[in-house]
Symmetry: C2
């Protein structure tokens, strides 16, 4: 395998296939096949989404894929943002359709005509729904597995509220939910407010959750949008308030996608392959019997161990393939990123122990048969924490404060640049650095001087090369 | 609600909306919104599919939605079968696409180009995969929720084997799997071999799983297809056999869809609404506190009961809504088909009992607080069996043996008609009855005389009006 540090891009492109996540040979650009192992990881993430959003009183729905052109064209900014990147269905069988249909690039324009039917009075609010579907974008740029695709596995939550303040509270709740998801995937991040010229088409403002990949480029892995009444007016989504008056609702969305998996692959992996955080791993422990002698006894004992771990709700797989050496199996499961390997040989049996090998640190741990189940639980929890903490440390090191644009060439990751906030200075920063402002941290900083106009400011621009 | 017996079609169309399964007001014909309750039931069915197909060594994959015209056009019969009913994507953004893409109506033509890359030697066989996706058909006939839609929630298993015999064994295994699914959904059925002129485009033969709806019309709810080498030749799917020779694989598929939910709604429901088989019900037991007095105590005790039932892995919901009467709640949960209601009032508390009301028989059962959890388990299992058995009895009564076509006008459901098996007599049966041959039972019958040509035959044609 390519060396991750030397050529991250090559390493990434190779590992997503060699670890069995996808097959890229499908004959349409930007559309890949999810192979069983990759799909299982994505499914585990989806299952967690269902669980946590249900806990926060969202309900799951499923809307049609196809949106009529007439509905799509109701919100002007939204159209402008998407019209160059939607796929159009123009024919059914041999007939030309009367009204063209587009494949959803996101579902606002499919959902909101229905919101206008569903919402009648304040008692119907808040409305909180989500769906997990595939969305489609006609990308003309270079595509990349999980990161920039034409068919994207997508999560979208949509909410409607009585007031702007309630919608703001929803975004605070979204951030709370996000923090839990980030721990589940062991992904470090910064939450930023997107600049005006880069917000979601139709939003009042957008927040982005940004992470930094080992290449130094940033990856947006979640977004929260405040729509205010920008969609409720064109889509006529009104409710009767307690005073008997009709008011337009205020709306928000929370979006995520298979990019989360891309971030997980890129951030945690190493030259041996993937490293999957235990909490979303399809296999948490793989048992490799070392069977040069006493084969039967070792295999029987391995099965016993498998059953004991299953009993304790640990996701375990026993690799009892006959035609592969233990060495090959080590290589194979390391490539697939199984967080913990359990080895058992005749000598371990004699000693009443098992050998555990951590995927993250490659540390070898001996555990007695009496306490190995508890030990495994502790080690898995520690791997989860370690992945998060070391990734966070890596990310923080890639964010560098600078006070003049002259310093930017030394920054491989994200430059934190004092910025007055004006659009003029913002564009100037982007032009001069040939990078993009991916947003500003939500918290205010100490007063500094804008790198362009010199005006005093508490605002920071994160300047980087985004995926 | 409409009376089910008097106008089944009206009743069905109404109950799918009033019970909260779908919203039909989406502005594209034949595409409905899955509302939370309907989607949960479908999700429970999907989860069971994942479980059982994994048990039978199938692996889950996910293929792209869009198929290039060039791949689609490789198998001639398959194209003829589908070209009038596929949606075509012709444009991306403002560009016309070089190669048109179609929305999969089923995934043979998306998958098989990849099979030809995946399968190299006999060691790669059997290949057994499945996916759960939405498929698209440009239906020109009248659409009907779950039964005839333009966007269809779909299950498809695809397998490849070394020999025709191994593919045949797969179909036997599929039937074994189907039988378990049928019990889970409490659906009675007949397995038939489809007639030549009604088999799947590209198959050597097709088996259909047919059920009979209360209207007397039949509904095909699953299919098994033997493809032999009909696809492996045009898609060049070969393996190296143990003698070092290349051979084309033999393939099968197993398909099911949201029609299963349609069958469940139609077959089990009554004038009060749905009846959901306990094994796939999102809510198995709903607790309705009867709270005219001692409100606080009753609510507290209800919560205790909810927690106890949850502890025992029973899917329970406590309806503690303040602004609805118990009577309204009874009506509401009966409409949604929750199989068992638990009532608790102050007098029940005094007596140390709970009241259970079965949705299927409306029978009232008193259970003491000591044994109510066990009682509920027994009653739920009994409801599951009862739904299956009574539906099976209903279905059998709708299948009537006749020996002359003159009798057909008296048959509301399925006429079992002696048929020599010739295409000529088959078409004649269909023309004269204005019904269709939905297939022939797999088992041979006693010798009778073909209703058309009078030739002696052991074959039966099921003649009916299919959905």
């Amino acid at each position: 395998m390519e060396h991750k540090k030397e050529d991250f891009s090559e390493w990434y492109n190779e590992v997503v296939e060699s670890a069995g996540l996808v097959d890229k040979r499908y004959p349409v650009k930007g559309m890949h096949i999810w192979r069983p192992y990759g799909w299982k990881i994505m499914h585990n993430i989806d299952t967690y989404f269902r669980e946590i959003f249900t806990d926060y009183s969202h309900e799951e729905v499923n809307f049609p894929l196809l949106v009529p052109e007439t509905e799509f064209k109701k919100e002007a900014e939204h159209i402008r943002g998407f019209e160059n990147e939607v796929f159009w269905v123009t024919h059914g069988g041999l007939d030309e359709l009367d009204i063209k249909l587009l494949l959803r690039p996101t579902s606002e324009t499919a959902m909101y005509p229905m919101f206008s039917l569903w919402i009648r009075s304040h008692a119907d609010l808040p409305l909180k729904i989500f769906q997990i579907v595939n969305v489609f974008r006609y990308e003309t740029k270079q595509t990349r597995t999980f990161i920039r695709m034409r068919e994207v596995h997508f999560f979208e939550a949509h909410t409607a509220h009585r007031t702007y303040e309630e919608a703001e509270k929803q975004i605070k709740e979204d951030i709370e939910i996000w923090k839990k998801i980030a721990r589940k995937l062991a992904l470090p991040y910064k939450i930023v407010k997107k600049v005006e010229w880069d917000k979601f088409p139709g939003a009042i403002y957008s927040l982005g959750v940004e992470t930094v990949m080992p290449s130094g480029r940033t990856l947006q892995i979640a977004t929260f949008h405040q729509y205010g009444q920008n969609f409720s007016k064109p889509y006529d989504i009104k409710y009767l308030n307690e005073d008997g008056e009709h008011e337009y609702v205020h709306q928000t969305t929370f979006g995520m996608s298979e990019r989360l998996l891309g971030a997980m692959v890129g951030i945690h992996g190493d030259d041996r392959g993937l490293i999957i955080p235990p909490e979303i791993a399809p296999i948490q422990v793989v048992i490799v019997p070392i069977v040069t002698k006493k084969k039967k006894e070792v295999l029987e004992e391995s099965k016993k161990i498998r059953d004991e771990l299953r009993e304790s709700s640990i996701k375990v797989h026993l690799d009892d393939r006959d035609n592969y050496t233990p060495g090959y199996k080590f290589y194979d499961w390391e490539l697939r990123g199984v967080p913990l390997r359990l080895e058992l040989g005749p000598r371990d049996m004699e000693k009443g122990q098992v050998v555990l090998v951590r995927r993250d640190s490659r540390e070898k741990i001996f555990a007695s048969r009496e306490e190995y189940v508890e030990k495994i639980k502790t080690v898995l929890a520690d791997i989860q924490d370690n992945l998060y903490n070391r990734a966070k440390k890596d990310m923080e090191q890639k964010i560098v404060n600078i006070e003049s644009l002259d310093e930017i060439d030394n920054v491989e990751g994200v430059a934190a640049v004092p910025w007055c906030g004006s659009e003029e200075c913002g564009h100037e920063i982007e032009d001069r650095t040939e990078r993009r402002i991916i947003g500003s941290p939500i918290e205010e900083e100490n007063a500094k001087k804008c790198v362009i106009c010199g005006k005093e400011t508490r605002k920071i621009a994160y300047v980087a090369k985004p995926y």
